[in-house]
Symmetry: C2
Subunit: 205 residues, 2 copies
Amino acid sequence: MAAPTPTRPRRRGHDPESVLSIAVHVFNERGYDGTSMEDLARALGVTKSAIYYHVPGKEQLLGRALDRALDGLFAMVADERAAAGPAIERLEWVVRQSVRILVDRLPYVTLLLRVRGNSVTEQAALERRREFDRFISRLVKEAAADGSLRPDVDPALVTRLLFGTVNSIAEWYEPARGNASPDDLADALLKMAFNGLRSRPAAQG
Amino acid sequence: MAAPTPTRPRRRGHDPESVLSIAVHVFNERGYDGTSMEDLARALGVTKSAIYYHVPGKEQLLGRALDRALDGLFAMVADERAAAGPAIERLEWVVRQSVRILVDRLPYVTLLLRVRGNSVTEQAALERRREFDRFISRLVKEAAADGSLRPDVDPALVTRLLFGTVNSIAEWYEPARGNASPDDLADALLKMAFNGLRSRPAAQG
């Protein structure tokens, strides 16, 4: 399925960006461990010997791809909107941004979510994911401490469930298929998770 | 890691239940496509030629494993508690039961969630999953129609997000690790999704 149509002339030159994008597509389709350099060469439309001109190695591509996802998350963590204001509002902002990053960088985040730690590169990515989780966890605890989070749920469980919901979007979301826009998607998720699906008599009039 | 300790004598006979349980463990660890009959023989502690005495074939085991997950979900759909009463309460009950089934049958549900439709058996399982999704979707629409679901979210999106949250539990839940009990887990998920994480001033006094 990843093989190019033989009638169309192939581009011989690939910039690093298109190499990365094509490689991530192949990784997601075949699994990283199931992808050979030959598979990558085929998808890029270059010979098996020419692939090393474009790519030093598979794991280096994996590292770059995982950084693409993780850098997005850490840019958000460093944003002042994640640092100032009531904890519950910062948490909502972070969840909304996480949905946007997931949608914007869907193949990269999808790859990240499948990482199990089978190599040094994967372990480094998992460590960055855990660092992100600790950031979220602190935010949830802050919101619990200042009374803006309901007191009868365990903050650790909230962190898991909240980001489980965000990450589950990668399982089904296909922007090309006319799914909800990223903003509508984030709105629906925030309404469900922070205000609940049950309609409120008071709000209904 | 799946190889048995050589010092312990191996059981030569396996009942169908233990064959299935061991096979599903191997499928989840290596991926179904990456598992050979030889891998299964090794995990069962039998010779490569003896494996066919226990197992007619890999795909038959896959089918039985996926049915184990799906039969649980459809038994719930057929239960009267899924059919009688206000739609929103039936929906809550179904979500709670889904969490229980996921935890009770964790390896089987994990396997089901990874199915992509690569064979007749996988396609049949996906069709049953879609049937289950349609059942949930109808329930969400009923709750929207009777006014018990907040009116400002798309029922189709709610179905996706709600079961995305439930299914995400399979990514991290390990009963042996002292995680929350299935009931605490279901409680937290229901509180978040149906009533929201934000504390309510009225409820706080």
